[in-house]
């Protein structure tokens, strides 16, 4: 079952093989939840949303048209739920939730400087428009291609590329202002 592709597992599950779904969970639960932790900065919320995405997939797989990959579909469910969650809890909660001083052998002064930069960068990330931020995260952390990103967030691959470049430029501009 390990060697099977997601699409094959989906087919097996639709034939009634429950173990095929467990394999899909094993494959995608950690990366999906880590992405949600990165977006939500709250492990419990990330866990809930990740599980809800799997439950929705479990119920929706019989109707899944396979127009996109299972991963794209699963991530789009999760990202939409995460966006709703973020909207519910605006204004943004503390950015320090998973903040820690960067490790290393540098002097305390250098480490503080690094921490300050990190904080500024997170602040700048939080200020990005929602779609740009999501595009940036999917591209940099999930290493998805633009077609996949477009499948999750909607739009075209070209539009997703444009959003990424715009996000990077905005981030640079904001960091310069914060300095």
């Amino acid at each position: 079952m390990d060697a099977m592709k997601d699409a094959q597992l989906v087919k097996e599950f639709r034939k009634g093989d429950r173990e095929a779904f467990s394999e899909l969970v094993r494959r995608h639960s950690r990366p999906l939840t880590m992405m949600l932790i990165r977006i939500l900065k709250d492990e419990e919320e990330a866990k809930d949303i990740s599980q809800t995405a799997f439950l929705k997939a479990f119920e929706g797989l019989p109707r899944f048209m396979m127009a996109s990959s299972f991963k794209t579909w699963l991530y789009s469910i999760a990202i939409n739920a995460a966006k709703d969650q973020l909207r519910k809890r605006r204004p943004v909660t503390s950015l320090d939730t998973y903040e820690s001083l960067p490790d290393g052998a540098e002097s305390p002064g250098t480490r503080l400087d690094e921490a300050r930069k990190l904080r500024m960068m997170r602040e700048a990330m939080e200020s990005l428009p929602e779609k740009q931020r999501a595009t940036l995260q999917l591209r940099l952390y999930e290493e998805m291609d633009y077609k996949e990103i477009a499948g999750i967030l909607g739009g075209t691959a070209g539009g997703a590329r444009g959003n990424f470049f715009q996000a990077v430029r905005s981030l640079k501009g904001m960091l310069e202002q914060l300095r």
Partner: protein, 184 residues
């Protein structure tokens, strides 16, 4: 001297940092960078920034978290599987919903509490009332409302056009007075 403008070069630099450039495009951007100080520093800054953003990953929550995740997800999945709706496939659910909808429609249309068609009932009652009134008092004064030649007027519309305030009846035969004691 720049063969490529800085604005275009910045796009290519981002593309290079993101997906990489190949062949001719790479040569062109390298040519541009050789002579453009600001684009060189743009590439350096962008590379550093993207590197630090990408390196900013949250710590793994640990094995206990993942164990709990799996246990609670399994429980939730089992709960869904055991719920009565989950036992049926979506095709059966859709078929059930369709049959249910048909039943509701059938019951509403053929239900025993259906009243007779209101328009027909109203007309019949009106005709009976007019018959009674005509028997007692003769025809209504605005007789032109019965004009069949008008064609389009029905009994109902003609009746509704009559102002009840102005409605008077001319008795066309005399009614003898009855003595009350006969009724007692």
């Amino acid at each position: 001297m720049k063969g490529m403008g800085c604005s275009k070069a910045e796009k290519r630099i981002l593309q290079d940092l993101d997906e990489g450039l190949g062949g001719r495009e790479r040569e062109r951007i390298e040519d541009h960078l050789r002579d453009c100080e600001s684009c060189r520093s743009f590439r350096l800054e962008m590379g550093e920034m993207l590197g630090s953003v990408a390196a900013d990953v949250p710590e793994d929550p640990g094995e206990q978290f993942w164990k709990m995740y799996q246990v609670s997800l399994d429980a939730k999945l089992k709960e869904r599987e055991l719920s009565p709706g989950a036992a049926l496939g979506w095709g059966w659910k859709a078929a059930g919903a369709l049959v249910g909808a048909c039943l509701v429609v059938a019951v509403v249309w053929l239900g025993p509490w259906q009243e007779p068609t209101p328009a027909l009932g109203d007309t019949q009652r009106m005709v009976a009332l007019l018959d009674d009134l005509t028997r007692l008092y003769g025809p209504l004064e605005p007789e032109d409302s019965y004009d069949d030649a008008a064609g389009e007027q029905t009994l109902g519309t003609a009746y509704s056009q009559v102002d009840p305030e102005r409605l008077t009846f001319a008795p066309w035969f005399e009614v003898e007075e009855e003595s009350n004691h006969l009724l007692l």
